[in-house]
Symmetry: C2
Subunit: 492 residues, 2 copies
Amino acid sequence: MSKKLTSRAEDYSKWYNELVVKADLAENSAVRGCMVIKPYGYAIWEKMQAELDKMFKETGHQNAYFPLFVPKSLFEAEEKNAEGFAKECAVVTHYRLQSDPEKEGKLRVDPEAKLEEELVVRPTSEAIIWNTYRNWIQSYRDLPLLINQWANVVRWEMRTRLFLRTAEFLWQEGHTAHATKEEAVEETKLMNGVYAKFVENFMAIPVIQGVKSESERFAGAEDTYCIEALMQDGKALQAGTSHFLGQNFAKAFDVKFANKEGKQDYVWATSWGVSTRLMGALIMTHSDDNGLVLPPNLAPYQVVIVPIYRNDEQFDAIAEVAKEIMNDLRDRGISVKFDKRDTLRPGAKFAQHELQGVPLRIAIGPKDLEDKTVEVARRDTLSKQSVILDRITVVMEDLLEEIQGNLFDRALQFRDEHITPVDNFDEFKKALETKGGFLSAHWDGTAETEDKIKELTKATIRCIPLDAKQEEGVCVYSGKPSSKRVLFAKAY
Amino acid sequence: MSKKLTSRAEDYSKWYNELVVKADLAENSAVRGCMVIKPYGYAIWEKMQAELDKMFKETGHQNAYFPLFVPKSLFEAEEKNAEGFAKECAVVTHYRLQSDPEKEGKLRVDPEAKLEEELVVRPTSEAIIWNTYRNWIQSYRDLPLLINQWANVVRWEMRTRLFLRTAEFLWQEGHTAHATKEEAVEETKLMNGVYAKFVENFMAIPVIQGVKSESERFAGAEDTYCIEALMQDGKALQAGTSHFLGQNFAKAFDVKFANKEGKQDYVWATSWGVSTRLMGALIMTHSDDNGLVLPPNLAPYQVVIVPIYRNDEQFDAIAEVAKEIMNDLRDRGISVKFDKRDTLRPGAKFAQHELQGVPLRIAIGPKDLEDKTVEVARRDTLSKQSVILDRITVVMEDLLEEIQGNLFDRALQFRDEHITPVDNFDEFKKALETKGGFLSAHWDGTAETEDKIKELTKATIRCIPLDAKQEEGVCVYSGKPSSKRVLFAKAY
């Protein structure tokens, strides 16, 4: 298989698809729209999970696990939520297969094993969880209830793309219950902030925190907070959402509590989630025409050592030095792999590690041993430098930090260069066509205008930034008055 | 809710069900046979996962993720496997719901959204994984392929019990591919050994390693290795299995590789798994009439500190000492919780921590502060001792180790006392009735005898122990010659 990728300039979408497969991150499966996450891709996801899980626990959340299936009667209880997901539900109707009497060796659904009530494979778990919370919550003493679940969910999307939009995906979903509206709103914002911090510090992706317009809200939410990132092709990507659900689910599932005064009231809710979609954001923010570029904080291994040798004796001498380097790096908490495969030449190894985005590569040859140096290559800048062996640990530690920072800075610069203030619809369309990115524009606040702009340009309101300033202006489309700018973009 | 449990002597099964719910481990859900794993139960499962995951990685395995759904045509490809699981499959037939024209506000399956091919919710993943491996394996260089998956699976069991047998459960499934039969057999044994080590060292449950008789094998396996444990009621529980799959799946899915000589051959396979069923084994091995008893290695928190006070001043003084103890314990890697809830009296807290199996409890009252002592209670022996404050860290560290060892020793003694050699069918039946446990008996090696014994006594062959000695004898049922003893028992 050729490792050469289509370039981004040639076909960004094709570049992405090829990169995901060739860098061994994921691939399509025999099941329509469902992906296989390969070990290298899964190792990155595991690192994300570990860090997020730690952040959730530090903010007082506990993990639990709820059923994969939602009985139809529960699924339909919260109407807006049901309406939002009904069109893309996988539905279990039978619980047994039997030998097909018409085709030998084949199976068919046993018509007698039809379920009395259909089961929806969870597209999200509010329904099953709030039905459970009814028994868990009696009094204010049971609140707040701060729970997270790591799980798979299924949304029967018609047009799927690896990581970005798949019929089955992995995610975490937080579901919390509170005694007051204020506390629930605070939780919603807190978790959106946790996502922002994670995505910026670990994934090195700058994000804009904001709230969604009503049309873009989660089905069943009163308010949806989000973090929005910008990809290299100028399209936005929603990287995480945190919903204030009001008392909608509490009312649909009759979840009440006795407050301190003994009065019964409905519970206030939030839910929040990020998914394997983040892998798509990671890839499309940092990678280049040579392949994946990984921030050191998420790389399955941060450093790879490639020996360059002509005979066993040379190999042994290099292996000894490599072992010392590895011990020193591991002592500092740096993950490192010695690529001693004898089935590939160094050049092929270099290409593979580049394709897979390993942040730093150390090459050691016989000449290096003599000089007591090694050659170090950075993945982010593709630059090389010779490093004195004695200094290698310190240099690597510094470089990893530098790369993490550089990736963020680079992405931030690109993002900031692609936020264009526009003041009328001509400017809007022109900026969208020529430059892409976020358009900072006044909007009259109506769904009608939002729909019209979407219809005409494919751009949607990504968010109303939390830090948007009050500013008198007129809507770019309708000319009606507006008091703050919102961000439009074409989006994944 | 009363915390008092039914005693084991009164009704073991009822005791178990009550314990699982009252100790906040799990509960039944609105979905038939599916459970909700509650935060406290999930925290134990997370500890199991973390340790197992580490052991898998140390033995060279990587994690990946494969689809939840298996298209029917793939599911039926390996006939024995398909036959084994067809009777208990949840089947997705449709991908959309719509408004029910006959019932306002209700949904129904959209008859036009019928899938061309039904999707089976994975009961196990051999089929979908081996269908994927076909593309991953071309040559001996791609082998061995050592992959594990953490996932949910669904088996539509008719009679379910929390943790022990649920329609959906969580597990890990290892799926490996090898160039030779020998290597695959070695892997099968290795992973069975990893399970044994984990269950003995972390769960403090002694196990017998063995192989299954043909009737008890995994559907599609050539050989099934297992670890068998004994519960307090004298019934056995299969705690983990590791299967040598021969070339069955490679042939069903056409997975061939070129060996070093360039010759094509089918790949050799193994699979192995443990599940949330282990939670059931943990509970039924150690717990008592007061509730759960947890081995320190798996306790969500190993130590709880309960303050005993009459006023704020006393509370503050105790809290200060508690804080010091917590810092010291945490420095030694001991997890500890300060139970400062003001909504419960100390006695109620003691009862709850006992019910939830916290290994060690420290109680601190005003008198203790004066004496510079604290009261320490062990969950495993229900004994109490006064400990000088200065010595508390060392004592706790020693006690945790002692408890871990004591639980194992206690379970081992019970298990060993319940392995009864029997030499004829009367002895067999009598021992089974009066004592339960494992019966070490000669068996003629036929499925016919095995079936007959099962029919007459409900006892099955749990395993042929790996360390069974060659010994001439006659089958307890048929009187035919036999060369080694096998273990029979009634089982979960």
